[in-house]
Symmetry: C3
Subunit: 395 residues, 3 copies
Amino acid sequence: MNLKDRIEMLGKMKSDLAGKDFLLTWEKSEQDLRIIIEVASIIKEMRAKNISPRVFDSGLAISNFRDNSTRTRFSFASASNLLGLAVQDLDEEKSQIAHGETVRETANMISFMSDFIGIRDDIFLGEGNKYMREVGAALDEGFQKGVLPVRPGIVNLQCDMDHPTQSMADLMHLQDVFGSLENLKGRKIVMSWAYSPSYGKPLSVPQGIIALMSRFGMNIELAYPDGYELIPEIVEIAKKNAMQSGGSFSISHSMSNAMKDADIVYPKSWAPYNIMQQRTQLLKTDDKTGLKELEQVCLANNAKFMDWEYNEAKTKITRNQNALYLHCLPADISGVSCKQGEVSSTAFEHYRIKTYQEAGFKPYVIAAMMFTNRFGDPAEALKSILDRNRKRVDL
Amino acid sequence: MNLKDRIEMLGKMKSDLAGKDFLLTWEKSEQDLRIIIEVASIIKEMRAKNISPRVFDSGLAISNFRDNSTRTRFSFASASNLLGLAVQDLDEEKSQIAHGETVRETANMISFMSDFIGIRDDIFLGEGNKYMREVGAALDEGFQKGVLPVRPGIVNLQCDMDHPTQSMADLMHLQDVFGSLENLKGRKIVMSWAYSPSYGKPLSVPQGIIALMSRFGMNIELAYPDGYELIPEIVEIAKKNAMQSGGSFSISHSMSNAMKDADIVYPKSWAPYNIMQQRTQLLKTDDKTGLKELEQVCLANNAKFMDWEYNEAKTKITRNQNALYLHCLPADISGVSCKQGEVSSTAFEHYRIKTYQEAGFKPYVIAAMMFTNRFGDPAEALKSILDRNRKRVDL
Amino acid sequence: MNLKDRIEMLGKMKSDLAGKDFLLTWEKSEQDLRIIIEVASIIKEMRAKNISPRVFDSGLAISNFRDNSTRTRFSFASASNLLGLAVQDLDEEKSQIAHGETVRETANMISFMSDFIGIRDDIFLGEGNKYMREVGAALDEGFQKGVLPVRPGIVNLQCDMDHPTQSMADLMHLQDVFGSLENLKGRKIVMSWAYSPSYGKPLSVPQGIIALMSRFGMNIELAYPDGYELIPEIVEIAKKNAMQSGGSFSISHSMSNAMKDADIVYPKSWAPYNIMQQRTQLLKTDDKTGLKELEQVCLANNAKFMDWEYNEAKTKITRNQNALYLHCLPADISGVSCKQGEVSSTAFEHYRIKTYQEAGFKPYVIAAMMFTNRFGDPAEALKSILDRNRKRVDL
């Protein structure tokens, strides 16, 4: 289908995304998720065809990373730039935030000419998503009381609960590989814990994956060793989603068994929920001894499950011995980035390029989240872009 | 009045701002200050009406912060972006400046494609403003000798003497609240020291306020405990200004007395002038023990004046029990950001949103300083912007 | 010659630069080097005449500095901005690269919407240029396999072997001072070691200078104290170049003798090749004691050659007592930036402004490297820019 027809089709879906932050996929309707993915896909095609989707002549996109990041940072910068916004980092080391300034005040101070704020805050369990909502409430007040000329939209770039730009990029990748979202119905996807020689990895990726993929009729199997639970409420959401979408949801405790007949596998390490709770307390009190001890306990516990590695033997169990491998990257690759890790080097190498392509959807997902936040009728806005025919490389 | 008429009115004032750095408000004529405020206000209205005042297709604005900052940093970034410039940080930790490179050389090296340099240098008394002039002299030489294609303008983003983007934003806020600059005549504004459990806060805000507000016929009362003097020369300037503008200037040593019948109050902590001189010496010699001792002495001294808190009792003394509260933010709010501070939480809460609005003028003040530095006839330039009718959100 | 005619002349040279990284000047044909210099010069004139050569409506230029930098960082930012690209720093402290992520993966992750990557990696001998090629190979793979929509071009912003944006800027400066590249034929240029009270300065500048200037028929004299050799393979390249271009190449061990009848002098400190090899090993093993010891040995050795200072006595030996002084800056100026250094303050002062002008060509060289990487027919592209007549200051 050409761009014009795709945009016309898109116009048949009514968006409820305008003016609303993107914090959790499960707060959005299935149709809204489809709209974002289609807008992302159209913008991707536009850029590939040298059509510039730039809609802002000026404006800032604030990048607020409370944890390290390369790929999400660059994805956010790319999306902002594509739409015409300059990224301004809110670096807490550089700023006065670290010195007791309230979230409420800062949210307004940085937003006089801001159109979007992207936030990563995934270290403290129970805090990250809450922080984003605090920022949102401050922006609401500022906008209502005439402090801010527009209400900047917030994009969750990973919190303690969800990692929606990741899971939506993963979903776009599945759409790309399997041909359509409809083709995902009935597919088995295994979100599996995997061994890693590190600890404290956030829960947001597995949580985000089970909560999102369960919306599209897939059969989800969540596999992890005893004790490596996710946040129970989010598991419940995934269960309910699966039931409603005509898929299924199950939990198991053997990686090998889980992989049986899988169409899609996502082997990735994470820390146990209750450990993350303890860790959050220790981080808050800055208890360095406690943190060291907890790390030792965790690593020792992890070490019991070194056979939770995705490798060729496990690949053979999957459907046609060829399940699609997903990862948010970087993966802990045995013999490459660590001695023994989440995935064997041969299993990873087989899908290495595909994981790069998977990651390549993220900038467009973010751009689509921004675009649909700002334009109530995204199809109409995209049509204007198509009609004006401005070039990205402008010669 | 509509934008077209406002621009026409503006055109009746002849600007002397082109090509001149903005370092101290008292180096500018009253008319030039009025021009900046009107240009800022027009640009603000344009942006609100989705008219893009972007005038640079490319170009850099250098951000040189020698002290921490959130709001001024974002204001500078916003202003630069609005006019079409990309911000490039000159981060002395990243750069070679820290390794003995001369100011003169660096000023030229960063300016081959720069249109503006914003500098914050407020830590060393007797140094910050001097440093800006050194940079300016280096740029003059570079431009005259053909090194630089244009002479980048310098904007003082806070020095040891003045904080002109702050005081001018405050003045715009007063204009907004009281209806016009003319309406400020005869109003009583109290710039008062206030208690804070920290020390070493710069003098530039109170100095900037008394030196600027005295230009517009206000009755200035500067209140502080004995020993908390400002730089004497700047106090003299404020006195002279007040006389010339038909206002008055007085100094007193009781916050409560000072607040009597005040229309506007600005309670804010600062360090005593002579302490700042000692501190500058200690900082220069990196005398950590001396700095610790000085801090102890100062905090002990501060603690004698914990009743210098702006609170409801003091509010009641002001005109109609309702003086406008100003602050450059962040304020030390008792029970919120500290145990006991500059302002009680109820007094602050009453004007919290207004302080946000106050801060919201700063990006436009900076944009106007840049705009009038570059365009000798700002009204004509604004008219071109209005006529071309380019949109900020371009759909 | 006017811009139109210059562009027409340029069009007579066929470029082989499109789609190829700029890593070493000696990998490029003489004609390609001439094309870059002419494109840089045309873009410089355009900007001076307020013609905007912006060709990207959006896009990122990644700045990857593995060593400190002010002037090259700003030059890269300026060039990127002039062409319409936003700079995104890949700061290894902020990113996950430091945590074992492979070069291959990161190169792709940052490049989904990137048009150029500028890399400085000059600390480890045998590593910097190799690293750039690893990045390049990863980008090739990503582009071929559909991960990346375009293959971002790499610009070497200084490596262990060459510093091409510096040497090309120096060459533009010589063209400017002597009137044309042809006028450089038969000129004597002395690349001389000079004393500095620091150690470990990279070899890339002297290597880059002898390898590039030898392409244009100059008589190169490389002068250094015994033991301060450069990488032998690069010296061989310079020799061969000199032979082919009708110039000459010689090595000597006395600064005073070398300066005799010099038209151009480039006195600059560097570390001995074999010391850099030892240092690289010590850095790799993070052997702090070893590094300190090596530094002491080197400084003691340097101190034997404190008379290798370029000063008025040496100036008098040069042609007409007035050789053109070059330096990449910052220079170690005796009595200014150090007690005793590479150049006396009077000798430096005489050419200070000229060294600023020399540095001023760098942003345009970088812009031209990008431009010719992207546009196979740069003359045609420049003609389009001239024809569309877009203004940089757009009023």
